[in-house]
């Protein structure tokens, strides 16, 4: 049962939610709300943006300023919101399809700008809402409705992609480590820049059913088995890391933030500084 502080952030009138029983998305929403509540964020100054898909129905359940946009485009809506009103705390939730397929270009450019938005990627390695099609993070060999003979497309490592493109805070956890998810989202929000928190979650209905993980618990147990902390992973050989999920803070650095740079540009344009 969520605490009173967390319950206060929910639009409980819209429950029950649309997620399947046992879906990992609820764990992530709970971690996000714990993070917002513990940071003392104000609902009227907090924006939760999303794209399309199961993950992207999350803002509908959160009692804040929420926007459910088009598929793959949530980060650019969020960019407009943040640049228009820098005082808002902007969190963007998206699925793996949203982030890495249709929205892949927006994702790398948001990283490049280092705009102060926290992107929470709910990566369940499948298109859940549309019926179990392959995604850019589906592992090679996994089955999907559009990969009936097993996927051959190599999956993206979203954290490596984000770090390479310029994001300043990048972390990964799984739904089997909800406290870490909360901690990373909190640090992401506190980071003045573009933060990516990738949360490995499961879709037992669409992915698990076809890949020998039909029950929620099978997925949670698997996440526990294959999670390796970054510290451990750094000492492991590539072949030992095969099939593992590296969790932890993978990037934490400072770079000029986009909106701050733009506000300085305004001062220059107005001749307030030389």
């Amino acid at each position: 049962m969520p605490s009173k502080e967390v319950l206060d952030w929910l639009r409980v009138d819209f429950f029950p939610h649309i997620w399947c029983p046992g879906c990992g998305h609820g764990i992530i929403m709970h971690a996000l709300l714990r993070a917002l509540a513990s940071l003392g964020c104000e609902k009227e100054r907090t924006v939760i943006a999303s794209g399309i898909g199961c993950s992207s129905r999350m803002p509908g359940y959160i009692d804040a300023c929420t926007v459910h946009t088009t598929h793959g485009r949530s980060l650019v809506f969020a960019t407009g919101i943040k640049l228009a009103n820098p005082e808002l705390t902007v969190v963007n939730v998206m699925g793996d399809g949203d982030c890495a397929a249709i929205g892949g270009n927006h994702f790398i450019h948001a990283c490049r700008r280092n705009i102060d938005i926290t992107a929470v990627v709910l990566n369940n390695s499948i298109y859940g809402m549309t019926g179990g099609q392959v995604s850019p993070t589906t592992p090679i060999g996994a089955y999907a409705t559009t990969a009936p003979y097993g996927a051959i497309d190599p999956p993206f490592d979203l954290c490596n992609l984000a770090a390479a493109a310029g994001a300043t805070y990048v972390a990964r956890a799984t739904v089997a480590q909800p406290q870490l998810v909360e901690q990373y989202i909190k640090k992401g929000i506190q980071n003045k820049g573009f933060s990516v928190v990738e949360v490995m979650t499961h879709c037992h209905t669409q992915f698990g059913r076809r890949n020998k993980l039909p029950r929620p618990i099978d997925n949670i147990n698997r996440f526990k088995q294959v999670s390796v902390t970054k510290t451990k992973a750094d000492a492991m050989k590539p072949e030992e890391l095969e099939g593992k999920i590296v969790i932890g803070e993978l990037m934490d650095r400072k770079r000029p933030e986009y909106v701050e740079q733009y506000l300085r540009l305004i001062e220059r344009a107005r001749g307030q500084v030389a």
Binding site: G60, T70, R73, V76, F77, G80, I81, A84, H109
Partner: protein, 377 residues
């Protein structure tokens, strides 16, 4: 004192946007609209506004919608292929009722077409480009002066009706330079969206004001919290499957504009009183037409000109009235006859309607239109 300048049409659109209250532009460069972005990149920071060059056309419109949700008057500008890319999010702005100005400086198409040549081939894309039902407001400037004034009008209409409004310029209008009289600030009306007065706890974000079918709009960050979605939604902004709520919402999107059609529709008539031949044209074509009409008048031919300034809503009632007194209507257009169909619908058999299309990337010469007049006169 009003200032006189020598401006390009695209610059006049950019400066008209600022005059209309625009403080946010996001877009992606594309010929022949890029000077709008270039001008605003320079001018917006001076007034504390924001300019951002996005990674693509889709980002261009999406960031502008986001900025509008956060309370700014926002604009994006593009040309044919870019306009196509923006259509999905244009639909979201209609559905979520977000004020926005979208400029399309038309070039030849389909596809990459003729990037540097004039056309009027996006007339129907402006009306029906996105999927689903909604009402469209689109202005077609014919001069640099109008580029400025109609951009202010577009912002005003978008704020009043809480929806995207389109400026359909053609390449000639966007790129030509001519004299403009810049009106003094304060000499023209600037409309701002209705803000809610309800207590934040009682705020129903999509409850329309019965007087105009338009709900007041809160901004993210101003104390209200609400949900924005492209899904069909109820008055609280949440997705609905309830047939009566769906129908109410979609019909209101159309109704809120149609109800005020007379306030929105703009057109101009020259030599209408005794005309027996009526030319209907808009944008840059109207300039060639007017010259041809004057030459025809000098030859004693009774020719008039009707210029729709709002292409959508189309001034059909006004045209029908005038067409009922003429022997023939000629519609010169830089496409294969897109607005011709609307003119035929409006004229409704009162007079024969003849199309004259030009799709070779060039302008209509007044002589082309004069010959068309002489053929029928």
């Amino acid at each position: 004192m009003a200032e006189v300048a020598f401006w390009q049409g695209n610059k006049a659109i950019a400066m008209g946007a600022i005059a209309g209250g625009c403080t946010f532009f996001s877009g992606y460069p594309i010929t022949p609209s890029s000077e709008i972005a270039e001008t605003l990149a320079e001018e917006l920071p001076k007034i504390g506004g924001r300019f951002i060059q996005m990674e693509d056309e889709i980002g261009g419109i999406a960031a502008a919608i986001g900025a509008s949700i956060a309370g700014r008057k926002a604009m994006t500008a593009t040309s044919g292929p870019g306009f196509s890319l923006k259509q999905e999010n244009l639909g979201l702005a209609y559905m979520a009722e977000i004020p926005l100005v979208v400029v399309d400086i038309m070039r030849g198409g389909p596809s990459t077409g003729l990037p540097t040549r004039v056309s009027q081939q996006d007339v129907m894309q402006a009306r029906w480009g996105t999927h689903g039902d909604h009402a469209t407001i689109a202005y077609a400037p014919s001069s640099v002066q109008e580029c400025f004034e109609l951009t202010i009008a577009a912002f005003n209409a978008s704020e009043r009706f809480r929806q995207p409004v389109i400026i359909l310029g053609d390449e000639v209008v966007g790129h030509m330079r001519e004299k403009i009289v810049i009106p003094d600030a304060g000499s023209y009306q600037v409309v701002n969206r209705k803000r809610p007065t309800a207590d934040p706890e009682d705020f129903v974000p999509y409850k329309p004001d019965p007087s105009d079918d338009v709900p007041p709009m809160a901004s993210f960050g101003d104390g209200y919290r609400w949900h924005v979605t492209g899904l069909t939604h109820d008055e609280w902004g949440f997705p609905t499957d309830e047939p009566s709520e769906i129908e109410t919402k979609i019909k209101r999107l159309v109704q809120k504009v149609n109800r005020f059609r007379k306030d929105i529709v703009r057109y101009e008539v020259f030599y209408g009183e005794d005309a027996k031949v009526l030319i209907v044209s808009y944008g840059s074509v109207a300039r060639s037409s007017l010259r041809a009409v004057r030459e025809a008048r000098q030859k004693g031919l009774k020719v008039g000109h009707f210029r729709p300034i709002t292409l959508w809503p189309f001034p059909d009632e006004e045209l029908k009235e005038l067409a009922s007194q003429v022997d023939v209507v000629i519609v010169p257009e830089l496409n294969c006859g897109q607005m011709l169909l609307e003119v035929e619908r409006a004229v409704n058999g009162k007079a024969p309607v003849v199309g004259k299309s030009l799709v070779n990337g060039e302008l209509f010469q007044p002589s082309d239109i004069l010959s068309a007049i002489e053929e029928v006169a």
